[in-house]
């Protein structure tokens, strides 16, 4: 009996080995191909950024040579120039608009997403559609009424205008994103909490939020990037007082002419916080949504 059952198993395994061996080789051949393509695409995308950073350390003379120079004597001259031309207040404005709008988005969006995922009501889908529909109108079409309103209430060139607008701009995306994370929370946990006698806010704070914290980090990161990079509202509604970094960059081009090295330095400074934010959140993100509660 034992012999008869063993033999077919052996046959089967050696048969699958025989089939798998060439397949493995083919797979690794394809992998090399995809690897090459991935590298080419990555370099293609990264090269301009690399060149920008490189140029920011050149003198204007080095930046303008007819044959681009890869090796040169690096200098911090351009960075000094950028800061001395008054970048500081613009960075402060960008930080204020980004941080405060992101905090507001999370304060408003987390409870909204919680309600729309774990405590659904009859009109949940309508509400969700309402949120996303606010993103359908092109910003260009909305800028005139927004400008008129902001002007009327005397809030032009005020950082709080941008904070409110960025909050409104990011809130729908944040609600949709966080809702999908909330939906991953097993309903049994909430039922257990209700039997255990935990009030709603404690359930949210002590049980739900720890589970979805990677999701909240991801959402916050998206909000930070969108707010930091936002240009259209900023350029139309602000001037010297509340201008943000993107506005500064544009002003740079027009006032100073095309100074490649200095512009590169300014752009590198503008890009740096977003890259840093991504790198910090990345560590949180890769923790992933792993639950110990279910199975």
């Amino acid at each position: 009996m034992a012999v008869t059952t063993d033999t077919p198993t052996d046959d089967r395994s050696s048969a699958t080995d025989a089939v798998q061996a060439p397949r493995k080789q083919r797979a690794s051949g394809a992998n090399v191909g995809f690897g090459v393509i991935a590298w080419v695409v990555a370099i293609l995308f990264f090269f301009p950024v690399f060149w920008m950073v490189l140029t920011s350390f050149k003198t204007e003379g080095d930046a303008y040579t007819p044959t681009p120079k890869l090796f040169f004597e690096p200098t911090l001259e351009q960075y000094e120039g950028v800061f001395s031309s008054g970048l500081g207040p613009y960075i402060a404005n960008s930080v204020a608009a980004t941080v405060l709008s992101t905090v507001l988005v999370l304060l408003l969006g987390v409870p909204a997403a919680f309600a729309l995922s774990l405590r659904p009501v009859r009109k949940t889908s309508d509400v969700l559609f309402f949120f996303i529909s606010t993103k359908m109108l092109p910003v260009v079409a909305a800028i005139v009424p927004i400008y008129v309103v902001v002007n009327q209430i005397g809030m032009l060139d005020n950082i709080w205008t941008l904070i409110v607008l960025y909050t409104g701009m990011n809130l729908p995306i944040a609600v949709w994103m966080m809702r999908s994370f909330f939906l991953e929370v097993p309903g049994e946990l909430l039922e257990q909490a209700s039997i255990d006698g935990a009030p709603l806010w404690r359930t949210l704070r002590e049980i739900v939020l720890p589970i979805i914290s990677p999701g909240i980090f991801a959402t916050a990161l998206i909000c930070v990037i969108f707010a930091w990079n936002e240009f259209f509202f900023a350029v139309n509604l602000t001037a010297a007082n509340a201008g943000t970094v993107p506005v500064f960059l544009v002003g740079f081009i027009t006032s100073e002419g095309l100074y490649w090295a200095q512009l590169s330095a300014a752009a590198t400074i503008a890009a740096l916080p977003v890259v840093l934010a991504g790198w910090v959140a990345h560590n949180k993100l890769v923790q992933g949504l792993s639950f110990g509660a279910v199975k």
Binding site: I195, G197, G292
Partner: protein
């Protein structure tokens, strides 16, 4: 310590549709472990969730210790529940998980720690108290969930298929532990399972549900010996009872060319019906020699032999009527193989007879 009463309790998900739980009447005596068992969709979990307060009670009432709990939120029902997936809080340690319901009740820290320590000792979890659920095995998580229920010292334990995520060996072991613990604590318990072995081994009483309706509520032996209808007869027991629809004869019913006499009371209860559903458990067949006289035994041909060591089950079809299959319990190490002829005779003292249409038991009582 409490008595739990379902009084015509119903749950109707969509008005007009068939209720998920239909006018359930059930009394769980103080300290009893009652098992709700049935196939999926029978309403057993819904009934439990109605008791927990996780599902509304649309009609009738549910009472815990005489108090109508229809409008009482779950936390004020003085119950503790163990979920199928354990529902442990992933961000909290074992100790924090177990202490959480006590903390929510405002118990002071020392008493909390004391109770958690006691429960952990009882469940063999002491060395895991500082771990997160992620770092525990399935069986350990299950025990943490039990522990969190125990520390509450509730009036009623509710358990929703607490063993279904464990492997077979662990399940048998934990089954005994739960039964032993429930006996010791003497807390009324409502236990939901789809596994009739769990129901039979653990329940002081067992409620069999199907299609949202209570089929029978009885002790395990009663359920086995006197199933109230054909559904219960087929559901309880493994392998299932043979349920055969047979024509009446002058003294009983006819099967495989022989007459099976029916006891007087059943015969009277059957009245003028010309067909009956007759139930014969696998162990209620007597294996006879294949040389026996054709008039007194039923000849059959074996399709499958399940050898269990101490006993065996023979799946066979009748020689005369190949569309009728039967299951017969035989001795261990049975010499019969696929295709062999066998001869059987039902033990007429242990026949179960049901109405063909309604499935109700017929025995004149």
């Amino acid at each position: 310590m409490a008595e739990v009463v379902f009084d015509q309790a119903s749950r109707i998900y969509t008005p007009g549709a068939k209720p998920a739980v239909d006018r359930l009447d059930l009394t769980v005596a103080d300290g009893d472990l009652v098992v709700l068992v049935g196939p999926s969709g029978s309403g057993k979990s819904t009934a439990l969730r109605m008791l927990a307060g996780l599902e509304p009670i649309d009609a009738g009432s549910v009472r815990i210790n005489g108090r109508d709990v229809v409008d009482v939120p779950p936390k004020d029902r003085d119950i503790a529940m163990v979920f199928q997936n354990y529902a442990l809080y992933p961000s909290k340690t074992v100790a924090e998980n177990m202490a959480f319901p006590l903390k929510m009740r405002g118990m002071d820290k020392e008493e909390r720690a004391d109770r958690v320590r006691q429960a952990a000792e009882m469940l063999g979890l002491t060395e895991y108290l500082d771990r997160k659920p992620k770092a525990l095995s399935g069986g350990q998580r299950q025990r943490v969930a039990m522990g969190r229920a125990i520390v509450r010292e509730p009036q009623v334990f509710l358990m929703d298929e607490p063993l279904s995520n464990l492997d077979a060996k662990m399940r048998v072991q934990t089954r005994a532990q739960i039964a032993e613990m429930q006996n010791r604590l003497a807390v009324s318990t409502v236990y939901v399972t789809h596994d009739q072995v769990e129901a039979m081994t653990m329940g002081d009483k067992v409620a069999v549900l199907a299609d949202g309706r209570l089929q029978q509520y009885a002790t395990p032996p009663e359920l086995y010996d006197r199933p109230a209808n054909a559904f219960v007869a087929g559901f309880i027991g493994s392998p299932a009872m043979n349920l055969l629809e047979l024509p009446r004869s002058s003294t009983g019913v006819t099967l495989g060319g022989i007459e099976i006499p029916l006891p007087r009371d059943i015969s009277d209860a059957a009245g003028s019906r010309d067909r009956l559903t007759v139930g014969i458990r696998p162990e209620d067949w007597v294996l006879e020699s294949t040389d026996s006289d054709g008039g007194s035994v039923i000849k059959a041909v074996v399709d499958v032999v399940e050898e269990l060591g101490s006993e065996s089950y023979l799946y066979a079809h009748l020689a005369e009527d190949t569309s009728t299959s039967i299951v017969v319990r035989g001795p261990g190490r049975v010499k019969v193989r696929f295709g062999d002829p066998i001869a059987v005779r039902p033990n007429s003292d242990t026949l179960h007879v049901f109405d063909v249409e309604s499935g109700e038991r017929l025995d004149g009582q």
